[in-house]
């Protein structure tokens, strides 16, 4: 039984300019101890999925279709207070450190202890603090820096503190939304390594959200490629990288440099993502697709199995 099963999830935002379909018909599942990565450009809906899993969509956002089954319970049917107890205790989130994810007026250790105490009200402050100490050791923040304020931390330390906070209640699932985007590559590498170790140590399931396909390739068992609100290719890391099926996936892979592979010209993807207020009728990528045919413009593509645990949303194979 999968820990998390998302079926046909659609999410929209009411905006001034009209109704925006941010996520459409996304399905995936995640086993315990596995990790899944979502890759895509900004605005493709990957963060929206993360927020929907936490039940934290902004007031103008709304799940219009689908189910989110977590441990066999549909999170969308839960009451506010039930959802609140699931947050952090079962599903935690690692935010981007540069985003001010820590409150500037409270000490870092207090903010972590707060998460523990919110879900274990009987636990005293001293016991909670003891746990915080353990967590900070785990992520490598020296003890004498625990009582600092967020602004006294470097970006890497903030990220570590946020990871410590995510682990505070021993959640089953952690959603990491662009966890290393604001960090330089060396710190990024350290954080990713640590995240991987922690994941193994605690048998965590993880969802990684990133615009950087190389990071996702580094940490995740499965990969979902997103484009304009849709999942366009989904499969195991090996499958997706060995034989990328969707033209967008291929374009993404060839637009990132590699250090070890053979030298080749990086290919940018021409064009822009479509407007999601009036999405095109056919394939959403067809305007930028090198192999697009006339039928791509009018007919929406359907999911095709292209290998074991590997599928893509493209017309290419059909014809």
């Amino acid at each position: 039984m999968a820990l998390l099963e998302v079926e046909n999830l659609s999410i929209g935002y009411r905006t001034r300019k009209g109704y925006l379909q941010a996520v459409e018909g996304v399905s995936f599942c995640l086993e315990e101890g596995k990790s899944l990565g979502f890759v895509g450009e900004s605005g493709c809906g990957k963060t929206t999925i993360g927020m929907a899993l936490m039940g934290l969509l902004p007031p103008n956002g709304q799940v219009t279709k689908g189910r989110i089954l977590f441990e066999d319970k549909d999170l969308l049917q839960l009451s506010d207070s039930n959802m609140r107890s699931i947050r952090w205790q079962k599903i935690a989130m690692i935010f981007q450190a540069a985003m001010n994810a820590l409150n500037p007026v409270h000490r870092v250790d207090d903010q972590v202890a707060e998460a523990i105490q919110a879900h274990n009200p009987d636990l005293g402050k001293t016991n909670a603090m003891k746990q915080v100490e353990g967590l900070f050791q785990l992520v490598g923040i020296p003890e004498d820096r625990m009582r600092d304020y967020p602004h006294q931390y470097s970006g890497g330390m903030k990220q570590r503190a946020i990871i410590a906070m995510a682990l505070a209640c021993r959640p089953k699932l952690i959603i990491a939304d662009e966890p290393t985007t604001a960090l330089d590559v060396i710190v990024q590498d350290q954080i990713l390594k640590e995240t991987r170790n922690l994941q193994r140590e605690f048998n965590l399931s993880m969802i990684f959200i990133s615009h950087d396909i190389s990071i996702v390739a580094d940490v995740c068992h499965d990969i979902g490629i997103m484009y304009a609100g849709q999942l366009v290719e989904y499969g195991s890391r090996e499958e997706v990288f060995r034989s990328p099926c969707h033209p967008y996936t291929r374009a993404l892979i060839s637009s990132y440099p590699t250090l070890t592979g053979k030298k080749s010209q990086l290919t940018p993807i021409p064009g822009e993502t479509p407007n999601l207020i009036n999405p095109p009728a056919g394939c959403r990528f067809c305007d930028r697709c090198p192999g697009a045919r006339t039928s791509c413009k009018t007919e929406p593509p359907a999911w095709e199995e292209v290998g074991p645990c590997h599928s893509a949303l493209c017309h290419e194979r059909k014809l």
């Binding site: 609140r84 699931i86 001010n100 409150n103 007026v105 998460a115 919110a118 304020y149």
Partner: protein, 325 residues
Amino acid sequence: MELRRYIFRRIIQIIIIFFVILTVLFLLFRLAPGDPVSRMIDPDMTPEDAELLISQLGLDQPLWTQYVYYVKNFFTGNFGNSFHYGQPVVRIIGDRLPNTILLFTSSIILSALVGIFLGKIASWHKGKKTDTWMTIGALVTHTVFLPWLALIMIWVFAYKLDWFPITGMISEEVWLDPDVGLLAKFLDVLHHMVLPLGTLFLIHFGSYLLIMRSSMLETLKEDYIITARAKGLEEKVIRDHHAAPNAALPVVTSVGLSLAFSINGGALTETVFTWPGIGRELVFSVSHNDYPLAQASFLLIAFVVLVSNLVVDVLYAYLDPRIRY
């Protein structure tokens, strides 16, 4: 430790600024049109007597000698005698200042606390009825003309309903009665204070409400609010513990400024309610060319402005760790 160094640095700055103000004020009074002595000279005086008076006051001395005396007098607390009252200025101010502080400090603190609280509530119900009514109420009371409101308050509550006294700060019959205890005296002052305090409160709480409301709305968009929500905290905890402390910072600045200008800004209120405070005295001294009193009052205002700024800075540093370190 860091906080102490910060306060020390600010105090040094304040001393320098105060010296500059002291000097500017000295020059300003010498440049002002009108002769300070003309008020004191009566028509029967001979020109010799007038000369004598001028030299007694040191006004025939060169400017820099006058300045040295001025600074010396300032540091020895000698501000001269009021032309009008004939009493030492220090004593007049010493009498009036506590009354002003009592009325304005309490009105500002009261309106700030209520404004912060209501602003928090309004922002939490943004766009709903509660918010709309609170915002409209705040705008209306905040924009009302103060003397008008004061007169209406007196007319309704003191004259028509006769709940509160019309003028003054104390009732003589209570204070002159030797058998009356401290509590009764306190209650008497409180009874007199209700109307001016209520008026000032109505005028001021709206601005704090509006500042707090918009500041809260900004803060609620911050990422750490999403973090707090993701942590599964109760909405009340998010509002009071995570959003409000950050949102209250701009209100603190505003409170500091009001404190600073309450000393003179209260002239209207003090006049309408005949509250024996500094604001009334200042207006009086300026319009009657009572130079010693006016000069000391201006210095006092400068001093209060500087000190309130310091208080705000320290409070800010206490509330926002980013400034402290």
